[in-house]
Structures are given as structure tokens and as C-alpha cells.
Amino acid sequence: MKLTALLLAAAVCYAAGPVKLLNVSYDPTRELYQNINAAFAKQWKAKTGADVVVNQSHGGSGSQARSVIDGLQADVVTLALAYDIDAIAEKTGLLPKNWQSRFPDNSSPYTSTIVFLVRKGNPKRIKDWNDLVRPGISIITPNPKTSGGARWNYLAAWGYALRQNNNDESKAKDFVARLYKNVPVLDSGARGATTTFVQRGIGDVLLAWENEAFLAVNELGKDKLELVVPSISILAEPPVAVVDNVAARHGTATVAKAYLDFIYSPEGQEIAAKNYYRPRSKEVAAKYDKQFPHLTLFTVDEVFGGWQKAQKKHFDEGGTFDQIYQPGR
């Protein structure tokens, strides 16, 4: 059956020229998917004889989800968090609500976490989350309303504060409020926040995806930036999904699924690890074990009861983020 589908796909591709996929992704995955796309195209060509071109679109995860809801023709979405794909499924019906069960590991082929990026020498001596709320510390983090990474940042801080205060929600809220009081500007996405911190030289510390922090250190040089690993952080699980109705309309359903399957393959996992995403594959994870710092990680499900609850409580209109952060304050 699979062979027939592949043959059919190949025949269609041969007749109509290269198959085009649109992968709508979040902000810091540009480099990851450039590598994934090239490797997948090569593999697909070898397997079927057909050419495939995967186009990329990047932005804040929330903004990207909104674009798909508004009609951006994504064959696949690879966003920062499950809630954003849930929103697409609920508001458009373009993919089923059980989309997360269709690929292994809750459709999350790699993970990451939130760490700190500071100036070389760590002049403000930032070691852990509690250092961020000190007066005079300037923190760069994007806007949780538009950025998936920002929501992970926020929840990581909240989770830390809960642990420090015996799960006292009001103290956690106060902690996060103090943290955001030290945030001078909110970018719309993680890559924009990195630019603000690294290139514009604004702020003392960047709350960043682990992969983004590694990339910044490697690109700008270890003599300018340092990565600080807090005592505890959140396990970020960016999910992927085929947008069924769009892919069906484009005739790309088979290749779209193959594309996401490829990320789970040993080659795809290796590429993820090389781009500083924590691979799900135990073999690849073992191979890259030394690359990733070891720290205590908690999940959204454990601390917040899942993304639906976390979103409603913290990031929806009038949620705790709106209560603690006033723009231009």
C-alpha cells in the first residue's frame, strides 16, 4: 500500500514537476529546517526519483498559527508548542483535533529547554532565575502573545518560582511580575529577541531557547557571550503536524507525511542534534550527550496541567501575563 502511494506520488511528481511543500515554522528553526529540507529532498529523490522543494516560513509561533488560520497555505506546521497547532485544528478544521497522536512522542520529534545568555564574563553575576528579579537587571525575552519561545520562558520562570515557594501561586505571580518589570522591550519572536540582545547590545541577559543560545555563542564568538544554565528549567516539546486539508488540496499529503517522518529518522535526528535540538532518538541522544547541559527539567503537563490550561490561565486575554505586564510602563 505504501509502495503504491509512493509510486503514485512519484508519478504525479514526475508529471507535474517538483513537488512544493510549505513548512510554516517558528522563529529560531531557520537553520534546522534548511538542513532538514536539503537532506529530505535528497532522500526523497533517491527513493522516488521525484524532486521536492520545501519552502520555509518563520515567525513568532503564535503569529504563524494565526497566519495559517487566516489562510496561509501550510502543508506542514512545525511550531513551538502544541497549543498553537491546537488553535489551527479548532478554528479551521484543517487537521483533526487528535493531530498530536499521529506521530511518535506526541508529535514532538525533538525537544529543547530555556537557558540564559549573558555578556562575556557574566558582569551581572546571573546564575539562576532568582538573579533575574534583582533591581538593575535588564532581561530580553519576546512577547508571549506572539512567540512560542516567550511562553516557554514565562512558564519556566513560573515553574521555578512555584518550586521555590512551595507551589504558592501568588508568590510565583509576584516573582514573574518582578521579572517582567526588568524587561525593557518585547520582541515578537525569539529570533528578534536574539537580535536585540546580541546585535543591538541591549540587556544583560537573554532568555533563550537552548539551541538559539548555542547558535548565538557559536556565531558571535565565545569571547562575547556566555551560556548560563539555570538550576531548573522547562522541557520544551515543539510539535509537528501535517495540515491535512491543505496537503490534500495540493496533492502533497504523502510527501508531507514523509517529510515529518524524516525528522524522526536517524538522519533527521542527527541533523536536529547538530543544530542543538535535543533528539528523541536514544542512540543519537547518547552520541550527543556531552553537547547538552544536564539540568532538572519539568514539563508543562506536570506543572501546569497541559497547554490548554496554561494558555487559558496565563496568556489568553486578561490572563496573568496581561495582569503583570503593562506595555510602556
Partner: protein, 459 residues
Amino acid sequence: MRQGAVLKMSLRKIRIGLALMVVMPLAPTLARAQSADQKIQQLEQKVDELDQRVKVAERKKELDDADAAAKAQNAASVTADTGGFNIKSNDGNFLLKIGADLQVDNRAYLGDGAANGSDSILLRRVRPTFSGTVYKYVDYFFRPDFGQGATVIYDAYLELKYEPAAKVRVGKFKPPVGLERLQSDDDTSFVERGMPTLLVPSRDIGYQISGDLIPKRVNYSAGVFNGVADNGLSDAAVSGHRDYAARLFLTPFNGTSVKALRGLGFGSGISGGGVDGEPLPAYKTVGQATFFTFASGVTEAGHRTRLTPQGYYYVGPFGLLTEYTLTEEGLKKGLMQRDIAFRAWQVAGTYILTGEAKGFTSPTPKKPFDPRNNGWGAVELAVRVGDFSAEKGIYNYGFASAATTPRHAHEWVGGVNWYLNRLVRISVDYGNTNFGGGAAAGNRLPERVLLTRFQINFI
């Protein structure tokens, strides 16, 4: 031992004293140096703080600008121009057009037949129009009329245009039968339409599929409707019968290199269906005076069919439109039931003196009305000859009275249209209609009427 200790103490005091003597004069200098370093440090710190504030302000402005640009890109556009007043979403998928059609007419009946109608100045049409698109593929159109003291919904439909060759329209609109009827009232070359239009439906409620079988050259329409009387409109069906209508129209040279024939179009409309008790029509002259009415007790019964071969030819400023309509009405009075044929034809020619190209829609003046800048709009001459007749049996079977209702009418109309600009037009028509029958002795007196119209139309 004690003396030694005292001596040690004394020496220590002497050393401290000497040290103080040396250091004391230098103390202010050292303090000043330390203070300067601190000040420099403080200044550096302040400069850093200010630098951060400036950078943050700049970044915020960049983000605000990017946000504003994104919002502007997605913002709907509002336009007001010769195309009317439009609100359009950035992606073009949503559109609201607000338009209007206002016609102020004067009718003056002349000569011996002046008693046929009453001179008047009237609001012939007052039609606000709301039209546009939702979700890219669905058009809507709503146009009521408040003219002549009545409120009537003329058009109210939606059209699914996903497939241009098979657009589906649902609602109340013009059935695809008569050529001149399908022409918008602001595009017709005369104040009032010609005689073939008397015999085709005006608006009907139903479903229609239409499109171009060959883009811009072969157009078809087909639909099913409630069925209305000739030149009539209705908001509900009177009987369970339905009218089926279809039209095929060809413009075979449209877009070709044969310039002389690009404006040639021809085709035919047809409709048919059962009738049972529907209201009977009353036919009107160019002066809008009723000249033909059925006798009391007559009803529609049986079938009604219409056939309308039609065509036009436009080349440069010249235009010709011709149409023939044959309608067979099933009529009943008491036990008498017969099919009666009504026929009408017209030939209308136009010529634009100012040289603009004539077409099925109104011309756009090369120089809109603006005398200070030598702009006078476009001027068009128009002539029409038309004829209407009902078969003789209409009297024989008692369906109409020969003493009051002519079964034959022949008209000619001459007119001038002054297009001040694309939206505003002033027209003057003189119409003459002669009748066959319709008087106690001989023929009804001819109608001679002078019609003027001031019109603004934008949609």
C-alpha cells in the same frame, strides 16, 4: 624590662608620628584621586545606562514601526472614486461596494393623444446598491428601489464563482432571456426600454448556472425560476409551476485581430413553463402609459414560452442593437382556453458624436464635463424603431377588447444622450407610438411624448 617596654612604646609613637608627618600633606591628593576614579566610574555607569535607554527606545520604535507596517499591510482599503465607494480587505477576499442609481424623469405628453398619460416629474428609480464579495468566491448583490412611491426589492442574490465556467447564482435577479433587459438601466441608450423587453421577465426568483464555455466568446446561462408575467417581477410563486430559462450568446471575434467584428455579438434566449392563475401583464408605451390590458376574467392557463433571438454590433462610436421576442401565452376565460402569440421587435442605432467607443455598457467620456478646462463630456445620438403585436385571436376569444385595447403598436424614438462623465448622464428622447385598434372606432390616438432624464449611477 619595664624601661625596654617604655622605649619600644616611645619608638612606635615616634614612627607613627613621622609617618603621619609624611602622609598628612598627601592625604588630600589621594582622596581627590580616589574621588575622580569613582566619578569616572559613576559617569561610565550613567553613560551605559543612557546608552541602554537609547538603544531600547530605538528598538521599541523599530518594533512599533514593524508592527504598524504589518497592520497597514493587512488593513482594509477604503476607496471613493468613479467605481463607487468600496471597502476592501487587503487580500481582496472581502469587498463591500456601496452604490446608487438615481433617475429623475420628466414626461410631457404632446398632441392629440396627450390624454393617454399625465405630465409629471418623477423619481423613476431610486436604488441604493450594496454588493461585493465574501470569502473570495461568493459575490452578493442587493438593490431595492424606492422610486415612484413604492418600495420593491429588485435584485437580491448571491453568486458562487469558484469555477468561472459554472457560476451558481441564487436569489432574485434578471432571468437570462431578453438582451436589452440584461443591459443595466444606466447603460441603455434610451430613457425607456424598447418593445421586445415588454415580453420578457424583469426579475424572478430562482437558481442559475452561467459562465463562459470559451472565455469571453461563448457565454451560457440556464436556470429555473418561479415564473413571472411579461416584464414582471415577484417575490413569491403563484402556482407550483416553474419557468425554465436559458440563453446562449456568442461574441466570436472578441479579442481577435478582426477589429471590425470584435463588437459583434448574437445569440438567443428561451424560456418556458406552466402557468396557472399568474397575474396577467399590462404592456406600456415608451411614455409608460398602459396601452394593452386583458379583459376582466382572463387568466393565465396552460403554458407560456418565450423565444428571443438577439444581437448587437459595436464598432468605434457606432452601435446597433436588435432583438425579436415571440411569446406564447396560454390564456383562459370561462371555458375558452387558447395560446395567443405576442411578437415584438426593435432595431436601435446609436452614434457618439464626440468619438468615444460605443459598447454594451455606457461610454466613458474622453473629456469629462469641466468647461473651464474645455471638457464637455460625450454626446450620443440614438434612434430606435420598434413594433408590438398580438395575434388577432385576442379579440375573437374575448381576451381583450378591441374598443379599448390596441393589439398593435409601432414606435419610433429619437434621442440625445449627454454623458457628463462616467456616472452622470442627461437624456432627452422624443417618442412616437401609433396603435392598431384600441378605440371605439378605428385606432387609438398616437402617443407623442417627450422624456427627459437626469441620472447618476455608480456601483
